[in-house]
């Protein structure tokens, strides 16, 4: 099996096993600055691309980055910007020999510093793509894609389910390697990516080989097509089954067969319309008019396990109706929560008179002593001023005093503690400027598996009652003491037996 696997196995998604280095065709997330992320598909340089001699290039306000500098480097690498000719694209420009020479010099100078250039030198020589030349400033980082980074950088098509919500949801609906999940309302795909990671336990090698899978439904045609392409680009085709359907009317079966779901996530405007389709047997509640009730009912749920559900609705009215429908359909442990997430920034709070005026610095006394000192200083100066007789002679000394004061001030500035802004001031935390106070209400519920009289009879036959030896759980003090005594007795017996046996073995050896 190990041998033929290499030929049939699909490329593993960079979301699941990114490997240690960046690869061509792979999705990569460029971190331009703290919260500025840019997803790109890395391309192998193959001649001029879009007018760039270096092949495909990413242009940002932090510089230009030819893909060749980001290929086959360790994930997380800091990438230097390159000197890319962005102005003369499309124009044929004759370069003077002088120009060429100076460029080569620059390249040589920079090479020992940029390992990335070395890596790609051979490749670029072969394809005739221009060697990227490192710029003096500017850099970005190249990160492997994860659902968290993707959620922050994906193209928005609908409201996105963010990490604080989906992490909690997946934890509570017991999405685990090997589970099957139904997701309705694929939307922008953030939940899809997170749930694939949760259920992933390998790609199925054949149709019979059941592995963790996400069955995703989207009724909006344009969104469906965009999503479909995205899944292919991310090598997730074998793990996500995307269907274009209105689940209110169409239900959740795939070609009339049950996906066998263990967990369900509904991000729909009317979850109660979809819920009747998610029953174990034909529901009496919420049946659609004109429905064919004679056909055999196929449940999309896993018949062997309790099924967990979560619905995601922004309005309380939706919640009320959803919960009401869930009760009628036999769901238990219904629980509604709302997630509030806060991000915190750490900053150095600098307050003090000794600071120079700068952004983020509060030039006011940082404690009573400092305030006192300055007030006393001012008072003294005022007193001096008042005591001084107003004539020409003293004007000089006044000037002199002023100079002294200025010199003293200069002196202070000579060693301002501001030289080390990273340890100055008090470390404090602050919330973000804007917080998300409400995303959606999450309704959780469980549907136990069906249990018939026959099942019960079979289980009772397998485990008959009436031969109970001990009591587990809350037992009174006396029984507990008695049990403890018996236990100790047992251990004592065993020790004696062991001693006996050891003696026997010793005899035998001798």
């Amino acid at each position: 099996m190990a041998n033929n696997m290499t030929s049939t196995q699909p490329t593993v998604s960079p979301f699941l096993e990114p490997g240690l280095r960046t690869k061509p065709r792979s999705l990569a997330i460029l971190q331009l600055s703290r919260d500025n992320l840019l997803p790109i598909y890395l391309q192998e340089p193959s001649g001029e691309h879009d007018g760039y001699a270096e092949g495909a290039v990413v242009n940002t306000r932090y510089g230009s980055f030819p893909h060749s500098t980001m290929l086959n480097v360790p994930w997380g690498s800091q990438i230097r910007a390159s000197k890319v000719d962005t102005g003369s694209r499309g124009r044929k420009r004759k370069r003077g020999p002088k120009d060429e020479a100076s460029r080569d010099d620059a390249a040589e100078e920079n090479q020992p510093e940029t390992t990335t250039d070395n890596n790609n030198k051979d490749a670029s020589e072969a394809t005739g793509v221009k060697q990227a030349v490192a710029d003096d400033s500017g850099f970005i980082h190249v990160l492997p894609p994860t659902p968290e980074l993707w959620t922050q950088s994906l193209p928005h098509r609908t409201q996105v389910v963010y990490t604080p919500d989906y992490s909690y949801i997946l934890h509570r609906i017991r999405a685990r390697p090997g589970s099957t999940i139904i997701e309705a309302g694929a939307g922008s795909g953030s939940f899809t990516h997170a749930s694939v990671r949760a259920v992933y336990n390998g790609y199925p090698s054949s149709a019979e080989n059941k592995k963790g899978k996400v069955f995703s439904f989207e009724y909006h045609e344009e969104r469906f097509h965009k999503m479909k392409k995205e899944l292919t680009d991310h090598d997730l085709d074998g793990l996500v089954h995307l269907t274009h359907r209105d689940v209110y009317n169409g239900g959740f079966l795939i070609d009339g067969k049950s996906p066998g779901a263990d967990a369900i996530f509904l991000d729909l405007p009317k979850p109660w319309e979809a819920l009747p389709h998610l029953s174990r047997s034909r529901p009496t509640f919420g049946a659609k008019e004109g429905e064919d009730t004679t056909a055999e009912w196929v449940s999309p749920l896993n018949p062997k396990r309790a099924v967990h559900i979560c619905t995601f609705s922004p309005c309380i009215e939706q919640v009320t109706r959803t919960v009401s429908a869930m009760r009628r359909l036999g769901w238990v442990d219904i629980d509604m929560v709302e997630i509030a997430n806060r991000k915190l920034h750490t900053i150095r709070d600098r307050v003090g008179l000794h600071y120079q005026t700068d952004r983020g610095v509060n030039v006011s006394p940082h404690d009573v002593e400092e305030a006192l000192e300055r007030l006393a200083e001012i008072e003294e100066r005022v007193r001096e001023q008042a005591a001084r007789p107003r004539d020409a002679e003293d004007a000089d000394t006044d000037m002199k005093n002023g100079d002294d004061a200025a010199a003293k001030k200069e002196e202070d500035k000579e060693q301002p503690p501001y030289q080390t802004p990273w340890i100055d001031g008090r470390l404090i935390t602050k919330g973000e400027p804007e917080i998300k106070t409400h995303t959606s209400y999450l309704v959780f519920a469980v549907l136990p598996r069906e249990w018939t009289e026959e099942d019960e009879a079979a289980a009772f036959a397998k485990y008959p009652c009436g031969k109970e030896k001990a009591v587990v759980g809350s037992i009174d003090k006396q029984t507990r003491k008695k049990e403890r005594r018996e236990q100790l007795q047992k251990i004592g017996d065993r020790k004696a037996r062991r001693k006996e046996r050891d003696a026997k073995i010793a005899e035998a050896v001798e």
């Binding site: 699941l16 994930w75 090997g178 997430n341």
Partner: protein, 618 residues
């Protein structure tokens, strides 16, 4: 397919009407006592599905035990349905107004008595505040008697209590339902069986046991840590070929480390007694045993007895090691140090001859490496998933091949660790055969331990971990100092702390000011150091960590607010657990470019020559 039905000897959580959770092991042929809620045979819940609500029924005259009845959801929600139906029938009356809702409730099976004896109206809309104790006409002694003799799973008691309440007809429908709920919680003999999985277990530990033992980690935070740590299934198992070491060979016979095979490995520092490891194992698919017919038979044995018999088992193992020697003798000629890649989904145990002493039992992928501060890791909570990290002879469990533990000493100063640095014992087969079984057993055990420790330490020190997850009482800066170099580029870091301050100090180590100063060569100590040396930065007073090794550092916290959803009475719960909020710190491991690097952008130079350029890129 775990958690389909309740398996013998598995741990389960019993949810009682009072909201209390009892965690017990379901041993066949025992009785389970729920205190005032009754006693029933454990066999009655074995092989039954989880999440059903059972009712402890009255003993039949000819039987010695109480049978259970599955309560259908229609009965669980009878009150709400009655209210909803009433509202539908009379939509003009708003929620909570005087309507027939409660009478409808009375028609339910639970309230037959109410119907028969009290006639029609038992509720009236009024704003009067009713003191429950003052209005209850039954005395405590009478209630006790009722409880003792009461039948019908406690429903009689509740009905009688309601009936004998003097002011029942003065209650609003809301306060009546509240009163009924209160009494139901106290007397109804019902319970629900939940599987012990990470969410259920941590909830129980948090709400009812000692929350500080798991560092107050709430479900929200557990979810965040798992996601930001990118913890997931790390690929199909890969095992190193058995080097078939003979008893004479020493160190050279160890299976050489193959770094390119290592993948999907997570590094953990866990001071939650093993809960974090369990959560990660759950996400990686190595926490639960797969249901298997053959395993069921093995589970029949009493596990509590097993623990006590550990010492006896050790002797058994000595017996088996006798067999071992014979086998290795036969294979001696074939023994080679060549290792080839062996891929198989399940490790064959019984049908293949036993592995030699130096065989590496661990998978090279999809593993959890636990770093611990004490000489032994504290992973006692894993016992609830039938895994005992201290058991020498362990029944099959997926964690056996996927959980690696080592101490900080073994990681940082392995030469000081006895089990790592003491060369393995050797002995020729003739000498061995003259030894006592116990001595021989010890000999093999020590050699096996040596090979294990060597592999764990060497593979951990090889680095390239896929992520770091932490919930520790230790200073996170000191953890990162040693753990950061072990991470692969782009690997995520997720550190949980019950309080904010340690994480704030940590985040400050990666502040923009520090990074800029570092990048522009303002830190004299970094001069002349290679990138590799800087990765293993020992830390200085001003720069405890190399600030360029982590990207996008951030701190966050989450809190779930629970709501009550009832017709006309939907609102957030009035009280919730307080205490530690819990925060997580996240970031990604960066591979900084060598040499000075400046951000793009216009920035004015400061007047003071040595001062730092303005942070531009971030």
């Amino acid at each position: 397919m775990h958690h389909s039905v309740i398996k013998p000897n598995s741990w389960v959580a019993l949810k009682l009407p009072s909201g209390v959770t009892r965690v017990i092991q379901v041993t066949p042929n025992t009785s389970i006592s729920l205190g005032k809620y009754g006693t029933f045979p454990a066999n009655l819940i074995l092989e039954r599905p989880y999440y059903l609500t059972f009712e402890v029924q009255d003993k039949l005259p000819e039987e010695s035990f109480s049978r259970l009845r599955v309560v259908p959801p229609s009965e669980l929600y009878a009150d709400v349905f009655a209210e909803e139906d009433a509202e539908c029938a009379n939509p003009a009356a708003g929620p909570g107004s005087n309507n027939d809702a409660v009478i409808a409730t009375a028609e339910d099976e639970e309230f037959k008595l109410v119907d028969a004896e009290s006639g029609n109206v038992i509720a009236r809309s009024t704003q009067e505040v009713i003191d429950e104790n003052a209005r209850q006409k039954l005395t405590q002694a009478e209630i006790e008697e009722l409880k003792r003799d009461g039948t019908n799973a406690g429903k009689d008691v509740i009905a009688k209590l309601l009936l004998s309440h003097a002011a029942l007809d003065q209650k609003t429908s809301f306060s009546l339902s509240k009163y009924k709920l209160l009494k139901t919680k106290k007397y109804i003999r019902r319970f629900q069986v939940l599987p012990i999985d990470v969410p259920t277990f941590s909830n129980w530990q948090l709400e009812e046991r000692d929350a500080s033992k798991i560092l107050d980690i709430r479900a929200e935070m557990m979810g965040l840590v798992g996601c930001w740590g990118n913890v997931h299934y790390g690929g199909e198992d890969v095992f190193l070929e058995d080097p078939k070491a003979t008893t004479e060979q020493g160190e050279e016979a160890l299976a050489p480390l193959q770094e390119d095979l290592l993948a999907g490995r997570w590094l953990v520092v866990d001071d939650t007694g093993g809960l974090l490891v369990a959560a990660m194992a759950e996400r990686m698919g190595v926490l639960y045993k797969e249901d298997d017919e053959s395993e069921e038979a093995a589970e029949e044995e009493d596990t509590t007895e097993k623990a006590e018999e550990e010492t006896e088992q050790k002797q058994e193992s000595e017996m088996t090691s006798q067999k071992d020697i014979d086998m290795t003798d036969g294979q001696q000629q074939e023994s080679t140090s060549e290792t080839t890649l062996a891929r198989h989904p399940k490790r064959p145990r019984d049908n293949k001859p036993r592995d030699s002493d130096f065989a590496v039992p661990f998978s090279q992928t999809n593993t959890i490496t636990v770093l611990h501060g004490a000489s032994q890791p504290n992973l006692s909570f894993l016992n609830y998933w039938n895994f005992d990290v201290t058991a020498p002879q362990h029944p099959p469990h997926p964690l056996l091949n996927h959980l690696l533990t080592l101490s900080w000493l073994q990681l940082l100063k392995p030469e000081l660790d006895t089990s790592y640095s003491t060369p393995p014992l050797t002995a020729d087969p003739e000498t061995l055969s003259t030894w006592k079984p116990s001595r021989r057993g010890n000999f093999h055990r020590k050699r096996r331990r040596y090979a294990k420790v060597r592999h764990i330490v060497d593979s951990t020190r090889a680095g390239n971990f896929s992520g770091l997850v932490c919930a520790s009482t230790m200073d996170p800066i000191s953890i990162l100092k040693h753990a950061l170099p072990l991470l692969a580029g782009g690997a995520p870091v997720a550190i949980y702390s019950p309080s904010l301050e340690p994480l704030a100090t940590l985040a400050d180590c990666f502040s923009v000011a520090r990074r800029t100063a570092w990048n522009s060569g303002l830190v004299p100590e970094t001069q002349g150091k290679t990138a590799e040396e800087l990765e293993k930065w020992e830390g200085s007073e001003q720069f405890p960590l190399n600030p360029t090794l982590l990207l996008g550092t951030s701190i966050q916290t989450s809190r779930a607010r629970r709501w009550q959803v009832l017709p006309g009475r939907t609102h957030p719960l009035m009280t919730e657990r307080g205490g530690a909020d819990g925060f997580i710190f996240t970031g990604w491991r960066a591979k900084p470019a060598e040499g000075k690097i400046a951000a793009k952008g216009k920035f004015k130079r400061r007047k003071v020559e040595e001062s730092v350029s303005t942070p531009a890129s971030a």
